[in-house]
């Protein structure tokens, strides 16, 4: 007679050993990396929803357990991308970017301040939370808005996906514009050089999607104001015959 607790079926033994080794939890993580997961509000104590490629927070390699808070610098290598949330704000930082989530100065009236040194970021901000975004060529004041920015020393691309943004050139205070947008209505280029009063120009809609906006809004428990996503930046697909 076999003593109690001794497994007689080798398949059961393998299964129990696999469970003990955490095989299925790591398989689940791998599956989530591969096939994604349904986005929702991040649990308390978690900042990062997804990180891929080389990404650092304050020069330390970022993992899903890394916490991000005001004052931190987030940097992505060209192959990197990170999706994260801080308080009521959520961000998708694309490859080759460097962004500082600044502590706004006291008595500035600002809740958030963001400095996009270089690269590309899609951001959504909580309602009634005045925010300032500083890029290489512009300063943008926003409130309860979804925005997308790309910046380099020559120019900034800025799309007010929805909400209100006040855009000012860093090099020419006479170049300024207020954008009231419901759905990517008036993207802008803010140039480092050019004639006075003319450094802000109309731009096309590029490099971001409504699906990405819906995703990052869901991380902070919100939905964007639009219902139907635009397909203008998704890859064209074949009609099914």
């Amino acid at each position: 007679m076999r003593p109690f607790g001794v497994l007689d079926d080798p398949r059961r033994r393998i299964l129990i050993q696999a469970l003990a080794a955490g095989f299925f939890s790591s398989a689940g993580t791998a599956a989530a990396q591969l096939f994604g997961r349904s986005p929702g509000a991040l649990p308390a104590g978690q900042s990062i929803y997804r990180v891929s490629g080389n990404v650092t927070v304050n020069s330390q390699s970022a993992t899903l357990k890394t916490l991000i808070k005001p004052g931190d610098t987030v940097e992505t290598a060209p192959n990197g991308e990170i999706i994260f949330a801080v308080a009521q704000e959520a961000y998708l930082l694309r490859g080759g970017s460097r962004m500082v989530i600044e502590q706004p100065p006291e008595r500035s009236g600002l809740v958030n301040a963001l400095r996009l040194v270089t690269g590309k970021v899609l951001s959504v901000f909580g309602k009634g939370r005045p925010t300032r975004i500083l890029t290489a060529t512009s300063t943008i004041g926003i409130r309860g808005t979804g925005v997308y920015a790309e910046t380099d020393p020559e120019q900034t691309y800025f799309c007010t996906c929805y909400g209100v943004a006040e855009v000012t050139s860093n090099t020419d205070p006479t170049s300024k514009d207020t954008v009231v947008s419901t759905h990517h209505d008036r993207p802008l280029y803010i140039l480092a050089k050019g004639k006075e009063g003319g450094r802000i120009r109309r731009a096309p809609f590029i490099n971001h999607t409504d699906q990405e906006l819906m995703l990052i809004e869901s991380l902070v428990g919100r939905t964007p104001p639009f219902v139907f996503p635009m397909q203008d930046y998704n890859a064209p697909r074949r009609e099914y015959p």
Binding site: G36, R37, S38, V227, F228, Y233, A235, R237
Partner: protein, 299 residues
């Protein structure tokens, strides 16, 4: 009169909706050019299966009409053609229109988009018998399952109205498609479809007389000499069949508004009506492989 009075009473209430409906946006124009290798353009079994390569082009343009916050209509027109390399009688041009009415409950990431649609198109072949109209109507549901996987389900009725009654077909299709985004620029997709209804198979009349006799006995009276093929005498038979179609594809986007699409489609058909001697069901069974390369531009 009562109807008119009711309409007059409803008009003020409907006015905002009408105004919204008139506030439309044009959708981007789309052009697609494709090259397809098809190993069974006759949709027949054994040696009756003929290979060909097909050059295709299709352009479309539409407009979106918001109806309410959660509903909208999309209307699009399209035009295109397919040029068959060997069997030119199958080459054709087409134009048509499609209307979709969509509902989405919210802007939540995972919210499904439900749609009813109707499509109609006119087709003009190099041959005569297939000329006519094709219509389709149905329902679809589009649902993001995760941030990388999106599901599309469709149930549709297809109708065709050719010059010959052999090409007057109707069938019902149930389809499921999964899009798997590897990243922003690369998507793998897989779909499975089940179609049940009428289909046309073209077979050589004199190659196997016994087979031909069985095909005639089974399909009569829906038989006609197919004028799309001139290499030998071939007859088109309309039969009831079940078709299973599987598609595996890959789409690579280039920047904004351009992509390259590679796909493989496999279909297998089985007879869904009694085979009359000397035919057996296997005489009507066929498989088909289509390899397709397409370049798509939106502007």
């Amino acid at each position: 009169m009562r109807v008119l009075a009711a309409a007059a009473a409803l008009l003020p209430a409907a006015a905002p909706g009408i105004a919204n409906a008139l506030d439309f946006d044009f959708t981007a124009a789309r052009v697609e050019a494709s090259l397809t290798a098809d190993d069974n353009v006759t949709r027949a079994g054994g040696s009756d299966a003929l290979r060909d390569t097909i050059l295709g082009v299709r352009a479309s343009k539409g407009l979106t009409l918001p109806v309410s916050q959660r509903t909208r209509a999309i209307v699009q027109g399209f035009v295109g053609g397919e040029k068959f390399h060997k069997y030119d009688g199958l080459s054709h041009n087409f134009f048509g229109a499609q209307a979709d009415f969509q509902f989405r409950s919210s802007g939540e990431f995972g919210a499904a988009t439900y749609s009813v649609f109707a499509r109609t198109q006119a087709e003009y072949f190099k041959s005569d018998l297939r000329d006519g109209y094709r219509h389709a109507y149905g329902v679809t549901v589009l649902k993001p399952l995760t941030d990388r996987v999106t599901f599309l389900g469709a149930l549709q009725q297809n109708l065709s109205d050719g010059r010959s009654e052999v090409f007057d077909n109707h069938n019902t299709a149930l389809r499921g498609n999964f899009d798997w985004s590897l990243n922003n620029w690369n998507t793998v997709y897989a779909s499975a479809e089940y179609r049940k209804g009428n289909f046309v198979s073209t077979n050589c009349r004199n190659c196997d007389v016994n087979k031909t006799l069985g095909l005639v006995n089974t399909a009569v009276p829906h038989i006609i000499q197919d004028d799309a093929f001139t290499d030998t005498i071939r007859d088109a038979y309309r039969i009831d069949a079940n078709v299973i179609i599987a598609t595996l594809g890959y789409n690579h986007a280039f920047g904004s508004g351009q992509s390259l699409d590679v796909s493989w489609r496999y279909a297998t058909s089985s007879l869904a009506q009694p085979a009359v001697a000397p035919a057996t069901k296997s005489d009507f069974a066929y498989t088909l492989n289509q390899f397709s390369l397409a370049y798509l531009v939106r502007f």
